[in-house]
Symmetry: C2
Subunit: 109 residues, 2 copies
DNA sequence: ATTATATATTGCAATATTACGATAATAAAT
DNA sequence: ATTTATTATCGTAATATTGCAATATATAAT
């Protein structure tokens, strides 16, 4: 046990849950907010800003990269991270489709 | 280790991450979709529909209840669950505030 | 009163996530 | 060539999550 039974859910349910999972950590929310404000950043900026170890920040960046919401470009000895606007907007739409469903007024009893 | 350092993040970052976390599981996405379609449901409906054990469904319902997105009303020997429209809309707004931030066009280099 | 039905809770095993030190890899600067 | 700066990866410990059987609780039906 302890293993999510992905096979019993639809692709859409699994996909949505995966997207939510990536932003379901305060460090990753903070990283996204920081990049949005600063437009770009490097890993070390985040280490100083957030106060987490470099290895930890690097790991969080990797997860954000995994869904494409940020992208990294090698720039000399650093890596410059920025939001991928297209992916950001796509994810925004995906969440919208889910949350803007019409919820019929029908209380229990 | 293995413990999220909540104290280094803002309340907003922690709150957003918590909300995302609740919907970051395909079973909970499926449960919400099912309730939206059927308007209401009882725990056993979900056990049959999703094919997870009753204890597991009950646990997922508990997590959804914890943020108020669904509410349960005792109805005879069953519990009738439905979406709480106000909370649903509030969460929708919270996600919107986050994702509708203006992402400035500024690629790395 | 007993049985049947529906849900919640507890305890536990398996797996996943978070965090970090140590180390490797790479490029710039000296 | 050596040092410095930046990031990624590996290994590991601590904690969290997922799933279920067993059990407890509560109401309806017989």
């Amino acid at each position: 046990m302890g293993l999510t039974k992905s096979e019993i859910f639809t692709d859409e349910q699994n996909r949505l849950a995966s997207l939510f999972k990536v932003v379901a950590h305060p460090a990753r929310v903070a990283i996204l907010q920081y990049i949005i404000n600063q437009k770009t950043c490097i890993c070390n900026d985040l280490v100083e800003e957030l106060g987490l170890a470099q290895a930890t920040i690097s790991q969080h960046l990797k997860e954000l990269k995994s869904i494409g919401i940020i992208q990294g470009t090698i720039e000399g000895k650093a890596v410059c991270y920025c939001i991928d606007e297209n992916v950001w907007k796509q994810i925004q739409r995906d969440f919208d489709v889910f949350f803007n469903q019409e919820v019929k007024v029908s209380k229990c009893c």
